[in-house]
Symmetry: C2
Subunit: 127 residues, 2 copies
DNA sequence: CTGGATCCATTGGGATACTG
DNA sequence: CAGTATCCCAATGGATCCAG
C-alpha cells in the first residue's frame, strides 16, 4: 500500500495548493461564476460590479487583472469614450468553473448544515 | 431560461459564499483531506502536523477548533498523560471532502496551466 | 504530547478622491 | 464608464514562551 498517506504532495508549490490559492482572493470564483452565468461567458465591468454586491471597484479591477494574468479571463477594451471593457472566460476559465460550480452546488445542498454554524469564516471566534 | 443570471444569490449569507468562507482559513480543506486520506478518517495532532509541512502548531489547533465548532471534525481526547488527542471526520466532514477532492483533482489535471502563472495568490503583483 | 496565550509582521480588502 | 492611487484597518497566521 506504499503508505500512500499522500505525505508528499503538500509542498507549497503542489497543484492542489495552487488551486487553493485561487480562493485566497475571495472574489475570483464569484467573478468566474458570474461570467459563466451569462449566455456568452462575457460581461462588462459595470455588470460584474452590480452582480457582486459588496465588491469594491478596487477589488473588482484588481482581481480581474490578476485573473487575466493567470489566464482565466481575457480583457477586451473598445477604444471608445466612455470606455467599454468586456471580460470573457478563457478556455482555462471555463474549465475551472466546473469544479467551482460543484462547490457552490454542494453549498446549496447543504445549506442547512452551513446555517448551523455561525456566519464567521469557519467558526472564527472574534477577539 | 428565466434570465437566471443568479443575481439574487450573492448576498453575504448565501450558501455558496458560506462555502467559500470555508477556504478563508487556508488549512481547513487540507486538514480534511489529510484525515480523509487515512484509512479510518482519523488522525492525531502530531500526524496532522507532520502531514502538513508549513503549518504552525497555533494554526493547526486553531483551525481544528473552528472545524470542530462547525461540525466538520470531532475531537476525541484520551485522558492519558501525555495527552493523546484524535480528530475524526464527521459525516458532514466526509461529505465536504468530496467536492474538495474534486477541486484538488482538477489542480492535478491542470498542473501545467497552473504552472504558467506564478506562485502568487492569483497572480498577485507584489508591492 | 497537546494546546493556550502573546507579540507582531503581513496583507487582503474597503473607502475615497482623482484621471481619461 | 473604467481604472489608478492613497490611506487605513482588521485579521490571518507565524514565532515563542508557558502550562497541563
Amino acid at each position: 500500500m506504499t503508505t500512500s498517506t499522500a505525505e508528499d504532495e503538500w509542498r507549497e508549490d503542489c497543484a492542489p495548493r495552487r488551486v487553493l490559492d485561487l480562493f485566497a482572493t475571495k472574489w475570483t470564483s464569484m467573478i468566474l461564476h458570474t461570467l459563466d452565468a451569462r449566455h456568452d461567458g462575457a460581461a462588462r465591468t459595470g455588470v460584474l460590479q452590480r452582480s457582486l454586491p459588496g465588491i469594491s471597484k478596487k477589488m473588482l479591477t484588481q482581481t480581474l487583472r490578476d485573473m487575466e494574468a493567470s489566464g482565466f479571463v481575457s480583457r477586451h477594451a473598445r477604444g471608445t469614450i466612455p470606455p467599454a471593457v468586456e471580460y470573457r472566460l478563457t478556455p482555462l476559465g471555463q474549465r475551472f468553473v466546473e469544479p467551482v460550480e460543484l462547490l457552490y452546488g454542494w453549498g446549496r445542498d447543504n445549506a442547512d448544515a452551513l446555517d448551523q454554524m455561525g456566519a464567521r469564516p469557519t467558526a472564527r471566534r472574534r477577539g
